[in-house]
Symmetry: none
Subunit: 200 residues, 2 copies
DNA sequence: CGGTTATCGGCAGAAAACTGCCGATAACCG
DNA sequence: CGGTTATCGGCAGTTTTCTGCCGATAACCG
């Protein structure tokens, strides 16, 4: 909870036991402007998570020793909402189900096209942007201290704010997207202290 | 709470365009003590949902006309958090990902073993932890457009279920942690379809 | 057996949220 | 200038939710 701010960057942790593939993907991502951390084992990946602020994890499903699912479980303990992307070459339906149940946001198939990975990550950054913030609001703050009501209100605020951002401040679009009564939305914005013109 | 004394009704809606398979599965489920409704098309399934209280929907992913995903989207409009189980014979990884993103709780492969289906449904009834599915709805990354209300409900469900997990099912601890009125918590659990599980 | 603890649900009044109607305020466009 | 569009807030009736009180049901322990 120290001052880890000043980092609105987007940091990705890629976990893959194939050293060459890992290095290639990492290089591509870095060139594309994404802060990229790497790890070749689940253990070192967990360490990385403790040391850095990571926004997204990309991990192989099958790795020698600790597999990707177990790693994800461990990671979730400290980062409940962190987006996790799995990839695998021989994924079965149950594999995918298990991964998604663990909160995976996507499941890519090997061999990974660097372009595809980049698009996926950019998509997460754009759409999930708010969820990352929400993690800090609804979860980060909450650590046992925030009440149910507080967390729900924080979440409501997050939904409305991200929807506003997404629709560039057009209330009518937000009303349509969230299927919410105009009057109710106005009241909530007032109560939650949401204004249409935030820092851009 | 090991067994179900008061036998709360548990109604399943099975949607499959294959009449024979549907009939066979329905018969098996009914014999096994599960109230089972059937539908051979998405349209009639949606009708069933309006007419009956359904606890779980089991649907084929591929059906002539309206496909399973679209049907699930429609169903969610009236039953935002109802558990949905998909099944399919030729599911690709992206298929499974899409289904799970829509809040599916499981994905079975054809041909369906009646025993497996029964176990799945019993699992959902007895100790289904919908937290992750709720999380997916609340923080959906995809193009899914859940309403404000739906997402808030999903988030509330997520909070309560994870708190229950964390406190091993002790209501009093959850009340303390979430700072929520006992009566309110009970009502919410009822409304959101949250059941306490036995100790792990 | 009685006593304790934990949980649950009915009930009803209180509190809060929702929502339709109304008018007001801007900004923009001929 | 008048007309259109988008937004906002007051108000009030309706609906929903919250919450305290009460009793019921189990499980458990002497």
């Amino acid at each position: 909870m120290s001052t880890i701010e000043t980092a609105p960057d987007f940091t990705v942790l890629v976990v893959d036991d194939d050293h060459d593939v890992l290095a290639a993907n990492a290089r591509f991502l870095r060139v594309s402007g994404i802060d990229t951390l790497v790890a070749e084992t689940a253990e070192s990946a967990l360490q990385r998570l403790q040391q850095h602020t990571v926004d997204v994890v990309v991990t192989d499903l099958r790795m020698p020793g600790c597999d990707g699912l177990e790693f994800a479980r461990q990671a979730r303990l400290s980062r409940p909402l962190m987006p996790i992307v799995f990839f695998s070459g021989f994924a079965t339906v149950p594999d995918v189900v298990k991964a998604m149940r663990l909160g995976a946001v996507d499941f890519l198939e090997k061999p990974i096209e660097p372009e595809e990975l980049l698009l996926t990550l950019q998509g997460i950054r754009d759409r999930y942007d708010g969820a990352i913030a929400a993690q800090r609001i609804a979860f980060g703050v909450s650590d046992e201290t925030a009440s149910f009501k507080t967390r729900v209100l924080a979440y409501e605020k997050y939904i409305i704010e991200t929807s506003l951002l997404k629709h560039e401040g057009r209330i009518s679009d937000v009303i349509d997207a969230l299927q919410i009564n105009r009057r109710t939305l106005n009241d909530k914005m007032l109560r939650l202290g949401i204004t249409r013109f935030t820092e851009d």
